[in-house]
């Protein structure tokens, strides 16, 4: 639509991710590396799922709309399952590298271990960055031009809703990363299954488009719920939250100070 819409949608889609990157990751090179590794794993899962989809489309009947729709649903489900599989693979990789990481960290920096929140949420954020990029970059590229969607009857809120959806997906990936790694550490497989199911649910909600209300609102509800779950599994509690909010944290710190 113009530069205004381009920047607006970019900030909406990547705002939280950029903020997280700037304040928590950018200062430490090791964290950046983990972020990019996570992004790479997501990329590989996408490559595999797109390969399968491409082949299946080629051998399918291109004229039958019902078959194409079925193929699309199949593609989405397959992609979600592959992404979660690669998340698990990334977890396994990091676990194996744990000893190496400990050795690395004895020199100067703070120890990084898989139990650290930072590690868990960085892998999730890496997935989220890459997923968001693939979702929204081509839409952003077209939003720079003078036109908006609609001449063939589509809704003109296409850019805005795509940006909001992308923001939700990035944050969701981050929360899923935290919950997933925590559940794998503690061998709680039902939690892993819940993550997979919620991912499937969110992806299938996008089939409601162009009814953007029906797809965005449930997605944000799930985002909120996953956020709460991730907060708890990362070690937060209602008591901590109250302490922070009422600014009694300084006393708490003095009382429970531990060196790092």
């Amino acid at each position: 639509m113009t530069a205004a819409v381009f920047f607006g949608c970019t900030f909406i889609a990547f705002g939280p991710a950029i903020a997280l990157f700037l304040f928590t990751i950018a200062r430490e090179p090791l964290r950046v590396i983990f972020l990019i590794a996570g992004a790479f794993f997501w990329l590989v899962s996408l490559l595999l799922s797109s390969l399968v989809w491409f082949i299946s489309v080629q051998i399918s009947n291109k004229d039958s709309a019902a078959q194409q729709k079925g193929l699309l649903i199949f593609g989405v489900v397959l992609s979600v399952l592959l992404q979660e599989t690669f998340r698990f693979a990334y977890y396994k990789l990091l676990k194996k590298a744990n000893e190496g990481l400990l050795a690395l960290s004895q020199e100067e920096t703070m120890p990084i271990s898989i139990r650290q929140l930072a590690l868990r949420y960085m892998s999730g954020l890496g997935f989220g960055f890459m997923s968001g990029a693939f979702s929204v970059v081509n839409i952003l590229a077209d939003s720079v031009g003078p036109g908006t969607v609609g001449i063939h009857g589509d809704s003109q809120h296409y850019f805005l809703s795509s940006a909001f959806m992308t923001m939700a997906i990035i944050l969701l990936h981050m929360f899923w990363g935290v919950v997933f790694f925590d559940a794998c550490e503690k061998q709680r497989w039902w939690a892993v299954a819940a993550v997979v199911i919620s991912h499937l649910l969110v992806s299938c909600l996008t089939f409601q488009n162009p009814d953007y209300v029906a797809s965005l609102i449930p997605t944000y509800v799930i985002l909120f719920l996953m956020g709460v779950w991730a907060f708890y599994s990362a070690g937060g509690s209602l008591r901590n939250l109250k302490l922070c909010l009422t600014c009694k944290d300084k006393d708490f710190l003095l009382a429970n100070h531990r060196s790092r």
């Binding site: 639509m1 113009t2 205004a4 819409v5 920047f7 607006g8 949608c9 970019t10 900030f11 909406i12 705002g15 939280p16 950029i18 903020a19 997280l20 700037l22 304040f23 928590t24 120890p111 139990r115 929140l117 081509n138 839409i139 077209d142 031009g145 003078p146 036109g147 908006t148 969607v149 609609g150 001449i151 063939h152 589509d154 003109q156 296409y158 850019f159 805005l160 940006a163 923001m167 599994s233 990362a234 070690g235 937060g236 509690s237 008591r239 901590n240 939250l241 302490l243 922070c244 944290d249 708490f252 710190l253 429970n256 531990r258 790092r260």
Partner: protein, 670 residues
């Protein structure tokens, strides 16, 4: 017939920045988001910028295209919406051809801050009342009638040749003007306008509105001297040309072979020049059917050349006939001025002393009446010897025509010559000559130099449901009429040849007859315009046609055919090759002579004597339609985005600074 411009050649240099090869590899149709937004226009014909010594004319768009909200103009009063009261300027105005008049265009030109561009919908039938965007006095400064020659005849004081001319082609517009055919694409545009842009009950239409973007950025500006100077700037490895001089080739042939390597005066040679004009133009680029203004004349001359072939081979006339087809006459007589210049400077096969007289065939399309007029120049006829020659010429023509059943009248003695190539010869030398036209006073051509001067105007019509092949063979009435004008008897097959010529030049040039005549490596050019700096399509067609009609086929191999050309000075041999059948070698006296204005040879870009027309170059010409959202919605989106970014920055800062507290209960001591 096709446009004269070297401009097709200008079309050319792709913009390497915008058309990177990667976008092609990516996938031309994969971008479905773009398909949701834009509908590209398929057939776009722009108006382009031309420059001469003092002015620039034509249209210009901004570098990134001009965007405007669509508005279909209903009447001239509706212009008020576009120019003052409409709430969403700038507007892209869609004009039906009935509103494409001088008053509407001038008002739009004056209100150009609110006008983003104009789209003219070309109708399927010609407007009845006539339309001519050319000036009312064509080529008034480069003809022979000037203050020094005869002030009373200068500047069309006696006869305004083109009274319907409204001069639109020679105005300057700073917005793009395109022409669209009245077909399904245009219907999509109208439908978009009706769905989104119509004002309901006087209130302003609500967003999103239907809009159009047109790209036709022209590189050249100001005048010819400026753009030629800029052409010469050589800073980078690939210097960018901004304009090209209009130029092409004249086609000429003689009944008696003349030694072409010896230029200048030929002793004892007296030549009668039979001239016709090849080119025409219209308001829009590359649309120049020129049926009556050009085609009627040169097709007649081609038919005459063919009819004379047998006669002149048996008994050579004592004066050689020079069939000459000039290119570029619309733009201040480029072709004829160049030929006269070459003759004066001994650069041509003959010179002006060899020229005995000139007979020019002008606009000779007959519409019902069968009467032709012979025009001559009153000033040169004050000389008695010239007058005597002209009188003899007129008498000959009249007696020849009498036997064929139509009358040839003499136009008034005090009347000047109409715009014709002969005027350039008169500028150099007082030569006797006559111009044959179908009008006595002003033009009867109601569509002079416009896109409506087409086959329909000449009544070149075919019964419906004929295939192109059948249309080629169908003998139209127009052909029969044209044939009458060749004042020699001709066997019946001549009629079909004229008919085929009319078909080829006015309806479709990619037909089987032309394909037989043109060498196969050039036949691909019949379907599109040529970009290889040699000659444009009509020149090529006329050259090969004339060779075929006046020359003789000889039975030698292709290599010998090429060699022959170098051996003989007086004739040229051309080998016509084909993929499917054996080619043949034709030997004829047809040659090309360069038709670029002498001003460019002399590098005098502000010349008043010669044509200084150049055409600008451009990168891309395209258009597309889409919906635009309101400015408020765009700003709202930006505001929401900035808000989300700031809020998330704040929240993240707070959380990360308090992270120890917030996530403490799950931490284990390290």
């Amino acid at each position: 017939i096709g446009d004269f411009f070297l401009g097709h050649i200008a079309q050319p240099y792709p913009d390497y920045a915008s058309e990177s090869p990667f976008s092609f590899i990516w996938c031309a149709s994969c971008n479905s988001v773009e398909k949701k937004i834009y509908v590209h226009l398929n057939y776009t014909v722009p108006c382009v910028r031309l420059l001469n010594a003092t002015h620039q004319i034509g249209c210009q768009s901004s570098l990134s295209g001009d965007v405007g909200v669509l508005h279909v103009l209903e009447s001239e009063e509706n212009l008020d919406w576009v120019l003052s009261s409409g709430p969403n300027p700038p507007y892209m105005v869609i004009l039906e051809s009935s509103l494409f008049t001088r008053s509407v265009m001038m008002k739009l030109k004056n209100g150009s801050s609110r006008v983003a561009g104009i789209v003219v919908v070309a109708p399927n039938t010609n407007p009845v009342e006539g339309f001519s965007p050319h000036t009312s006095c064509p080529n008034e400064n480069t003809g022979v009638y000037s203050e020094s020659y005869d002030p009373t005849l200068a500047h069309c004081n006696v006869t305004v040749w083109n009274p319907l001319g409204n001069g639109l082609s020679y105005e300057e517009y700073d917005f793009p003007i395109f022409s669209l055919k009245d077909d399904n694409d245009t219907q999509v545009i109208r439908q978009c306008y009706l769905n989104h842009n119509q004002a309901v009950n006087g209130s302003s239409p609500r967003y999103p509105l239907c809009a159009m973007q047109l790209y036709s950025h022209m590189s050249a500006v100001t005048d010819t001297a400026t753009c030629m100077r800029r052409n010469d700037i050589n800073f980078s490895i690939s210097p960018e040309m901004v304009c090209d001089p209009l130029g092409d080739f004249n086609v000429w042939a003689s009944t008696r072979p003349l030694n072409n390597t010896e230029k200048g005066h030929k002793m004892w040679e007296k030549v009668v020049i039979a001239a016709a004009r090849l080119d025409s133009r219209s308001f829009f680029f590359d649309v120049a059917p020129g049926a009556e203004s050009g085609a009627s004349g040169f097709i007649t001359l081609l038919a005459a050349a063919h009819a004379l072939r047998n006669v002149t081979q048996e008994a050579q006339p004592n004066r050689t006939i020079f069939y000459t087809f000039f290119q570029g006459e619309t733009f201040d007589y480029i072709g004829s001025s160049r030929m006269v210049y070459d003759m004066e400077n001994n650069q041509f096969t003959v010179d002006l002393d060899n020229v005995h007289s000139v007979l020019e065939i002008g606009q000779v399309g007959l519409h019902g009446e069968s009467r032709l007029w012979l025009h001559s120049d009153p000033v040169s006829r004050r000389n008695s010897s010239v007058n005597e020659e002209v009188r003899k010429l007129i008498e000959n023509l009249q007696s020849a025509a009498a036997g064929l059943g139509f009358t040839v009248g003499e136009a008034g003695f005090s009347q000047p010559l109409p715009p014709s190539s002969f005027q350039r010869f008169l500028r150099a030398r007082q030569i006797p000559g006559v111009v044959i036209e179908n009008h006595q006073l002003n033009f009867t051509n109601r569509y002079y130099e416009s896109m409506y001067d087409n086959a329909e105007y000449l009544n070149v019509s075919y019964p419906p449901n004929l295939t192109p092949e059948e249309q080629l063979k169908f003998v139209t009435d127009t052909a029969k009429v044209i044939l009458l004008l060749t004042v020699f008897k001709c066997v019946t097959y001549c009629v079909s040849q004229v008919s085929q010529m009319l078909y080829g030049f006015l309806v479709r040039s990619n037909n089987s007859w032309f394909q037989q005549l043109i060498p196969s490596d050039l036949t691909s050019h019949l379907s599109k315009l040529i970009l290889n700096y040699t000659s444009s399509e009509p020149t090529l067609l006329v050259q090969y046609l004339l060779a075929n009609l006046t020359g003789s086929a000889i039975n030698i191999t292709q290599e010998n055919c090429q060699n022959q050309r170098e051996d003989e000075n007086d004739k040229e041999s051309k080998h016509v090759r084909h993929e499917t059948r054996e080619g043949f070698c034709v030997r004829s006296t047809v040659r090309l002579s360069r038709a670029v204005s002498p001003a460019f040879e002399l590098r005098d870009y502000t010349s008043k004597d010669y044509s200084t027309w150049t055409e600008s170059r451009w990168k891309s010409i395209k258009g597309r339609i889409f919906l635009v959202a309101s400015h408020e919605l765009e700003m709202l989106t930006l505001g929401v985005g900035v808000g989300v970014l700031l809020a998330s920055l704040l929240l993240t800062y707070i959380i990360s600074s308090k992270a120890d507290i917030l996530f403490s209960s799950g931490r284990e001591p390290t």
